[in-house]
Subunit: 358 residues, 2 copies
C-alpha cells in the first residue's frame, strides 16, 4: 500500500498517548517513538492515504469513557491509542488520487469512527482521505476542534427529532456543557426559546454560571430543585416544551425535564455524565405519551456518510458567522500530559476546556 | 332531550357502584336507587340517546386505578360511578334517528372514554349511540366483555409500532395478564415468535403458569431472573427481539426485557402493575438506540374515532374464530359486591377473573 521507507519515517516521528484496560487520565502513557501507524481501514483503501500532522486533540467526556473501557469503540487489545477528535495539517499524501479534495498543507479535522477506529491522541495519523474533513481557510484549527463534538450533536438533535418552528420551546439539562451552550446558541439562531437547567452549586458559582448562560443567549435558566418544587408556576411562566435534551441522566436532572414536558413530547438522551441510572414513572409513557430515545453522533455519522461534508460546511459557516462560540480552553503540551490531572483538580467557572497540543 | 317520565323510570331502576376519593374495592358503595343517569356527552346529542341494561362489567387494573384516583379519568367530584367497560342489551332508544345502527334487544358493549366519562358499574347507562359498540350475534356477551381491554390493546400494539413480518420475535413481561395472553395468541396467529417473561413464584405455581402460557401458544417462557443471569445464552437460543411490551414496570421486569432487546428496538409501556418506577441506564438510548414509548387504549380511541367500529369487527371475528380465548371468570352479583374482596384474597392459578353481574 505504501513503501516501507514511508512507514519508517512516520514511525520515527510518531508520539501517542496510550491507554491500558480500565484506564483514566492519570494512567495514560506517552509512547516512545514505537507506535505503529497503520491504516486499519480496509474498506476505503482505494482512496488517498493521507498523513496528517496533528496539532490539537480534544479531551471530552467520551474520550474519558473510551479509555475507561465503557465506550463501544474502546479497544479490547492493549495498549491502544486514546482520543476521538483532532485537527491538524496534511503533511503527505502517500497514494494520490486524481480527484482528491486535499493537498499538502490543508487544515483538516479527524474524528475516530466505526470504520476508522484509529486513536486521535497521536502526533501523526495515517488515514484515508474519506475520514478527514477539510477545514476552510476562514476557520482556525481551534475553532474547528470545538465544532467536532458538542455543536454538531446540538445541531443534529435540534433538526432531526421534531419539526421545530420559530417561537417553539426546548428544554435541556446540563446546559453548561459544550453541547448545552451550542444548543442555546443554535436555538436562539433558529428563533426557538430555550429553558436551561443546571444543578445547584454555591451562590457565588451559581451567579457566574447563570449569567454565563444568559450571555450565550439562554431565555430561561433554572436549577433542578426549583423545577421539582415549583413546576406548576414555572410552567405558567415559561410554557411547556415538546422537546428535551438530557446529557446528565441523574434522577433529579431527568425528573426536572420530564415534569416540564408537555404531552406527546420527545425526550432525547445523549449523555450520562452523572454516571448513574435514572428512574422513570411508567405513567409518563401511558398517560402523557412522552417518548424517550437516544442520540449518538458516532452512529449518526456511520449511518449518514454522504451527509457529513455538507454538515461540516454548515457548522464551519455557523462558526465563522459567530453564531457558535468557542469556549475558553487551555492547551496542554502532550509531552507534559500529566498536567491534565492538575487541570481537572481545579474547578473553573465558567468552564475552561483542556486540549492536547502536539 | 327526553321526557321526565323516562328519566324517572331509568332512575327508579338504576343501581350503581360508587367510589369516593382515594377509594378501593372494599370501600365501594352500592347506590340505593338514587343515582341520576344523565348524558354528559353534549357533543353527540344529535345522535340517538340509548338506554342499555347492563349485564356484566369488567374489574380490570385500570378500574382499580380509576377508583383510587390515579387514573386520568378519575373524578374530582364525589361520589362518582366506577367502572370502565360493560356489556348489555339495548332497552330503549329515547331519541331515534333514521340511520341508527341499533335497535331494542341488540347486544352492545360500552367503554368509558374522554367524551363519555360515564361509569360502567351501573345497572343502566344512558349514552349516545356513538359510544356503543354493537356485538354480533355469534359472539356472547361474556366473550365480548373480555375483548374490551387486553385483547384490543394487544392487537393495536402488535400492529401500530413496527412493521412485523412472519417469523419476527417479540418479547413481553407480565405475560400471564389478560393482555399478555392475547399478545401470545395474536402473535401466533400473525406467525410471530413470542418470548414471554413472568416473575418467579413457588415451583408448583410456576409449573402451572408456564404450562398455561405454552398452552396458549407461547414459543418461549422465562422467569425474569433467568434472563438477567443468563442473557447471552438465552439470546443465542432464541434470538434478539426488536419489540418489547411492558405492563409491569418494576426494575427486574423491565431490565430483563431491555437486556434481551436488539439495537434499534422499541420498548412499549402500557401498564404499571408493580406500582413502582423503574431504572434506566442511559447507554440503552445512546449506544443501543432503544426507544421507549407508551400505549394507552383510551387515548388511541379518542384519536381514532373513525376506526373503532372496524377494529371491533376484527376483534369479534378473532373471538368467534377462536384465535382469542376467553379466560376463566367468576361473576359476582353486584348486590353482593363485597365478595370481590374475598375473591382477591385467594390467588388462583391460572388466574380467574372476577366480573360484576347486574
Amino acid at each position: 500500500m505504501f513503501s516501507f521507507q514511508c512507514l519508517r519515517i512516520i514511525r520515527k516521528k510518531s508520539r501517542a498517548l496510550l491507554y491500558e484496560k480500565k484506564c483514566n487520565l492519570k494512567r495514560l502513557k506517552l509512547s516512545k517513538n514505537d507506535v505503529e501507524i497503520e491504516n486499519i481501514n480496509k474498506k476505503y483503501n482505494h482512496l488517498a492515504q493521507v498523513v496528517v500532522k496533528t496539532k490539537y486533540s480534544s479531551i471530552n467526556p467520551s474520550d474519558l469513557n473510551l479509555i475507561s473501557g465503557t465506550y463501544p469503540m474502546s479497544s479490547k487489545v492493549f495498549p491502544d491509542i486514546g482520543g476521538i477528535g483532532s485537527v491538524g495539517i496534511v503533511e503527505k499524501i502517500l497514494k494520490p488520487i486524481s480527484n482528491s479534495r486535499l493537498k499538502i498543507g490543508d487544515s483538516v479535522a479527524y474524528i475516530r469512527c466505526h470504520n476508522c477506529n484509529v486513536g486521535a491522541w497521536q502526533s501523526k495519523i495515517l488515514v484515508s482521505e474519506s475520514n478527514l474533513i477539510k477545514i476552510p481557510e476562514n476557520v482556525s484549527l481551534i475553532d474547528a476542534l470545538f465544532c467536532l463534538s458538542g455543536p454538531i450533536t446540538a445541531y443534529l438533535m435540534l433538526h432531526n427529532f421534531i419539526k421545530l418552528q420559530s417561537g417553539d420551546l426546548i428544554i435541556q439539562n446540563g446546559a453548561n456543557s459544550q453541547c448545552g451552550i451550542a444548543i442555546i446558541e443554535l436555538a436562539k439562531y433558529m428563533g426557538l426559546k430555550s429553558i436551561n437547567l443546571i444543578r445547584r452549586h454555591n451562590a457565588e458559582t451559581d451567579k457566574v454560571l447563570v449569567h454565563n448562560l444568559y450571555n450565550h443567549g439562554a431565555d430561561h435558566v433554572f436549577h433542578y430543585d426549583e423545577i421539582i418544587e415549583n413546576v406548576s408556576n414555572i410552567k405558567k411562566l415559561v410554557g411547556t416544551p415538546k422537546l428535551a435534551f438530557n446529557c446528565i441522566s441523574s434522577d433529579e436532572s431527568t425528573l426536572s425535564l420530564i415534569k416540564m414536558l408537555d404531552e406527546n413530547s420527545k425526550f432525547i438522551t445523549y449523555g450520562g455524565m452523572s454516571r448513574q441510572t435514572f428512574s422513570i414513572n411508567p405513567s409518563i409513557f401511558i398517560f402523557k405519551n412522552i417518548s424517550l430515545c437516544g442520540f449518538w453522533l458516532t452512529q449518526w455519522r456511520k449511518d449518514n456518510l454522504s451527509m457529513i461534508d455538507g454538515l461540516f460546511s454548515e457548522m464551519f459557516h455557523l462558526k465563522s458567522s459567530y453564531i457558535l462560540s468557542t469556549p475558553k480552553y487551555q492547551s496542554i503540551d502532550v509531552e507534559y500530559f500529566d498536567n491534565v490531572n492538575t487541570f481537572y483538580q481545579n474547578y473553573h467557572v465558567p468552564r475552561i476546556y483542556p486540549i492536547f497540543k502536539f
